[in-house]
């Protein structure tokens, strides 16, 4: 059984683990690190429930090996909350952007990537940005509103910050 020692940062915290080469990143996050906010949905690279940020880029963690994250930074849904909820988390609450909530962590991580690159997306751009994430409950309408809520709030905060 081939194993490697890897060191990576998850939500700012440095972690070292002895992992099997074939271990998937999502299993490292959920099983080794007990960060179960990242969900496994389809396990076939379709649904996006397992989306995390790898060095700031949204990826499906069921389709990346843990060894590939060696020396890199991973952000999961648990890393979104600071002293208060992140505006995206708040947006999903305020706009009822979830029903069962299974897709929500992935939706939020994809939306984070989107807003980091495009702070003021159009509705079409939001729908495009989350097109790799499947939701079987909401019909997406309120998810789009939640992202718009976060986009507005983040821009207000930036303006107040005088940047």
């Amino acid at each position: 059984m081939a194993t490697q020692s890897i060191t990576l940062k998850i939500n700012g915290e440095s972690r070292t683990a002895e992992v099997e080469d074939r271990l998937l990143l999502v299993h490292l996050i959920r099983d080794n690190c007990a960060l179960t906010g990242t969900h496994i949905g389809c396990d076939t690279t379709h649904c996006g429930a397992c989306t995390v940020l790898l060095d700031g880029t949204a990826v499906k963690s069921c389709t990346v090996f843990a060894v590939q994250a060696n020396g890199r930074e991973v952000t999961t849904i648990e890393g979104m909350e600071g002293e208060t909820l992140h505006p995206l988390q708040e947006g999903f609450m305020e706009e009822h952007g979830l029903q069962c909530g299974f897709c929500t962590p992935g939706m939020i991580m994809s939306s984070k990537h989107l807003l980091d690159h495009n702070p003021n997306p159009t509705e079409d751009e939001i729908r495009w940005g989350i097109s790799g994430n499947l939701c079987r409950c909401t019909g997406y309408q309120n998810i789009v509103k939640a992202v718009q809520y976060a986009s507005n709030k983040l821009q207000e905060t930036t303006e107040e910050g005088g940047e």
Partner: protein, 295 residues
């Protein structure tokens, strides 16, 4: 789903990667974006003993123009192609192609090189690259040049489903696309059931004009044969015409005749031929519009 056991290697140079391939032989596979390979490994359709991860070879991550040619490095991600201003301005057919591959999350890791090296006729770049008369640069331990490099014309690259001209110890390092020359335009059209699915069919069209008359045409099709299909008769039929709607429709019929679709859950053979006809015609008209300065 857990992939079979394998040994992971992360070379820090191309030479090291090639040496690994040479030493490990047919039991090794290259890991680039991994978004075809890892799903296949999870389904145990692929069970390599060794993975050679080339994600660390950042010198292969580039999109740049040299004299007369666009060079796309093996590690250029689909998302980079999608966002590149150079691509949007001068090679919109590549943007057309990248932005319909899988979904945005997949494209953040998936590479153009992998899309081609995988040899899947359902992938989108192969047909586009055939229509563009691209070349594939590969490196191996031996070969024609001192550095072990050789260039393969795109028409010689695809040999069958998941089969290419790449030897086991060779790595695709670059794709070379001729720069648009004179009045020309190109477009890719794909029909998919939903975001993330493979094409029911796709059509790429590249047109060159001498005045109002078509001087050269490249037409190629996605997912309607064991390899990307070059529709030679459709190409020939366009040359010398002004590419009217009728000319495009006629080329679409010839492309449909050249396609070799197999009926499956994406549609019957007859339906897919009808789709090829329509998409080819639309790609041709879009290419013409772009040649006239449209976008």
């Amino acid at each position: 789903m857990i992939p079979g056991s394998f040994n992971y290697h992360a070379p820090s140079s191309l030479d090291e990667a090639i040496k690994l391939l040479e030493d490990l032989g047919e039991d090794a596979k290259i890991l680039a974006g991994g978004h075809s390979l890892i799903p296949m490994m999870k389904l145990r359709l692929a069970e390599p003993d060794h993975l050679v991860d080339i994600n660390g070879l950042s010198d292969l991550d580039y999109i740049r123009e040299e004299v007369g040619v666009l060079c796309i490095g093996a590690m250029a991600r689909e998302s980079a192609l999608e966002k590149s201003e150079l691509i949007a301005e001068k090679y919109p057919i590549l943007k057309d192609t990248s932005e319909v591959i899988a979904d945005p999350l997949v494209r953040n890791l998936a590479t153009v090189g992998g899309n081609i090296a995988h040899g899947d006729p359902a992938n989108d770049h192969p047909a586009t690259m055939v229509a563009l008369d691209a070349e594939v640069v590969v490196r191996g331990p031996g070969g024609l040049l001192d550095s072990g490099g050789r260039t393969i014309a795109i028409d010689d690259f695809f040999r069958g489903p998941l089969m290419t001209a790449l030897a086991e110890n060779e790595i695709l390092t670059e794709i070379r696309v001729p720069c648009p020359n004179g009045k020309s335009g190109a477009a890719y059209k794909k029909l998919e059931r939903k975001v993330g699915d493979y094409a029911i069919a796709g059509a790429a069209a590249v047109l060159n004009f001498d005045g109002d008359s078509c001087s050269k045409a490249g037409i190629a099709l996605t997912n309607v044969g064991p390899t990307p299909v070059r529709a030679s008769e459709a190409q020939d039929a366009l040359v010398g015409t002004a590419v009217s709607q009728d000319d495009a429709d006629k080329a679409g019929e010839l492309a449909a005749a050249a396609s070799q679709p197999v009926g499956d859950h994406r549609g019957s053979e007859e339906y897919k031929r009808a789709v090829v006809k329509v998409l080819t015609s639309r790609a041709i008209m879009k290419a013409k519009e772009r040649a006239a300065g449209g976008n």
